[in-house]
Symmetry: C2
Subunit: 201 residues, 2 copies
């Protein structure tokens, strides 16, 4: 009975949004393995059939919740590599605020059990961050700021991993938090890739 | 009744070991939040009182399980930075095999709820990896292989984060798996820190 769609009645977008937000909370607090539609209905203050009338099963609702977290990093195109990396560092660090931070951590823990659901999240959060960094590196190579043979995809991955690592595993390192890491990571990255080999500082 | 210690009877180290191994499995499969002594007793094939006679509560057993995963990375002292980083990359990648990989991922997900338990794991796995890398970098600076003012703690953190990131978040990047990443990451790190600014390759 619960699964009968409410045909003919127009959907209320505010309810859609409330359910998706509740699903995000459930993912961050519980994860995909124990994700419960009953709990989502409670969090959203709706009947379970209101969920089923919109998303036929938990998998489709989880996917919708993950997609709602997509951040849309934008290439800053400041005209210099240091300017671009500075702007992108802030954008990526912002990406790692809650609830994304918790979901990302659970994603790593539950990946092997839920590969299809989290592939969406990987694409929208992690792969996109790496792609937009690589884009900035390609621009810099075109301007002659970095060596022609510099390994750009790897450098982009390392840059993103360093930020993700600091936000997760390395939270309590002596070198402190994000703002303190930023300048050092940018200088390190530029030194690693520079055309003329001169240290950036 | 269950909690009465088996006084006077000598402890069997094989049972200790079986319980700790079962606790590690429970941490990897379930995490600390839902860690259950009943489930550990089942996994180990022992009575619950056999656990309580050794560890007074779940927290002490969890700590013992995490400590059993300590890896003891050793400074390789090959005489060159590239040799040291090559050996340490392999050691750290080996660290990230199961069950450590799963526990590390859960650690990131559950950190805020269980800070004291996981502090042990962070110290024995993550901080130790960073410290031994930094050690190799200090040796290299002494040999004149890298600049005097190179930011060694940050470089060590970025090196470790890149390996952790590849094992977790970035598993499916086009650049592939660990062996394919190793040479590139070492060259990138050396270029970032070199004394004379000449690309390493």
């Amino acid at each position: 009975m619960d699964t009968a769609p409410a045909r003919g009645r127009p959907r209320d977008p505010a309810v859609d949004e409330r359910i998706v937000r509740a699903a995000v909370e459930e993912l961050a607090g519980t994860g995909a393995a124990a994700f419960s539609l009953n709990s989502v209905a409670l969090r959203a203050g709706v009947a379970k059939r209101s969920i089923y009338s919109r998303w036929p099963n938990r998998e489709t609702l989880i996917t919708a919740a993950l997609q709602s977290l997509s951040v849309g990093l934008a290439p800053p195109r400041t005209g210099t590599l240091s300017g671009d990396l500075d702007a992108l560092f802030d954008q990526i660090a912002e990406t790692l605020s809650e609830p994304r931070q918790s979901i990302l951590a659970r994603y790593a823990a539950e990946l092997s059990a839920h590969p299809e659901q989290y592939a969406v999240f990987q694409r929208d959060v992690i792969d996109q961050a790496m792609a937009v960094i690589e884009d900035a590196l390609v621009d810099a190579r075109r301007r002659g700021e970095i060596r022609g043979d510099a390994p750009l995809p790897l450098a982009a991955e390392v840059f993103v991993s360093a930020i993700f690592g600091r936000s997760g595993y390395a939270r309590h390192t002596p070198s402190g938090d994000f703002p303190q890491m930023k300048d050092g990571l940018i200088a390190l990255t530029m030194n690693a890739l520079r055309a003329d080999g001169t240290p950036a500082r």
